[in-house]
């Protein structure tokens, strides 16, 4: 193994250690997600004023935009983990990449569905082949492709490596989704929130959006911990540490 990686990272990457650490992180991440989600959605649904053009319909933004950001963020995580899995053959990286896919697909589906429900009253249509909408739909298909390819192999680790390769190729779609509103002048609006510059949004509306965004990050951490733990139990089924857990949970 490479010497530049600190020892604690090697230890963390060992399945029993990661199982324990993820189990300790999960409740806190989930609690923070629920707390921040409640605060953010209260701010967005109750405290924030109606939009001067869209009335109350704009309130879909408080789930649509955080979900859209998560759909890209999780894909990026999956791509990086997939890269690590292919280069270093690290089992934990395979697990993180493959267990991120369903969560990312869930957020992508929410983005598309909530966008559709927002588009109908504002644009007059549920769907249009706009550049942003189309590239986001491609993102969903990439997630489903990764999940499908992963399950198409008898050997789980072989499937994880093949699907990681597909995930890495699909990373090209992430900047396309992001810049689609700049590169093509179609229906979807440009970005309102700018990380590095001035956001074109009133603070009353912006803070709930940012708080919900943080909540979805913590939700992802919690969900990934739960999924990775479960997957490690499955992958390491023959090992002693998993047998101990199975035995311990058999007793009521």
């Amino acid at each position: 193994m490479s010497t530049w990686i600190p020892l604690w990272m090697h230890k963390l990457a060992s399945p029993p250690t990661f199982y324990r650490v993820a189990g300790a992180i999960r409740p806190w991440a989930l609690a923070l997600a629920l707390l921040l989600g409640a605060i953010g959605l209260y701010g967005g649904l109750v405290l924030a004023p109606p939009d001067y053009q869209q009335g109350d319909a704009y309130r879909i933004i408080f789930i649509h935009v955080p979900s859209a950001w998560m759909s890209m963020f999780i894909y990026a995580v999956m791509g990086v983990a997939g890269f690590v899995a292919l280069i270093w053959r690290l089992k934990l990286a395979e697990v993180v990449a493959m267990q991120s896919a369903p969560i990312g697909a869930a957020f992508t589906a929410i983005t598309l569905a909530s966008g559709s429900l927002w588009g109908k009253p504002m644009w007059g249509t549920w769907w249009t082949w706009d550049a942003r909408l189309t590239s986001e739909l491609v993102l969903l298909f990439l997630y489903l492709g990764v999940i499908g390819l992963y399950h198409a192999f008898e050997d789980r680790r072989q499937g994880a490596r093949a699907a990681s390769f597909l995930a890495i190729i699909g990373v090209i779609n992430v900047p396309i989704v992001h810049f689609s509103v700049v590169w093509w002048n179609t229906l979807h609006q440009g970005s309102t929130v700018n990380v590095f510059g001035h956001s074109k949004m009133a603070w009353d509306m912006l803070w709930p959006l940012l708080v919900v965004t943080l909540a979805t990050k913590f939700y992802y951490a919690a969900s990934l911990c739960a999924r990775a733990r479960t997957d490690l139990l499955d992958l390491e089924g023959g090992k002693d540490w998993v047998r101990k857990i199975a035995d311990a949970e058999a007793r009521p």
Binding site: R59, A106, A226
Partner: protein
């Protein structure tokens, strides 16, 4: 008109806003329940496998011609 009714109507857009929120929560609740169900299934199957293996080991340890005890 009560303020709750006003809140639920979302300025006439309730039919779009609430389904979006309902989908958000439904999908995320399903996502958070899935690993727990899979975990229970994995551990149940593992215990069954270990029990079968243990039973096989015991049978193999017995002498083949030994009469079954009453």
């Amino acid at each position: 008109m009560s303020s709750l009714h006003e809140f639920l109507s979302m300025g006439g857009y309730g039919a779009y806003v609430w389904p979006a929120y309902a989908l958000f929560f439904a999908i995320l609740i399903a996502d958070s329940l899935a690993p727990g169900l899979r975990r229970r299934r994995i551990l149940r199957e593992l215990r069954a496998r270990l029990a079968r293996h243990a039973a096989r080991t015991v049978r193999a340890a017995e002498p083949p011609s030994s009469p079954s005890s009453p």
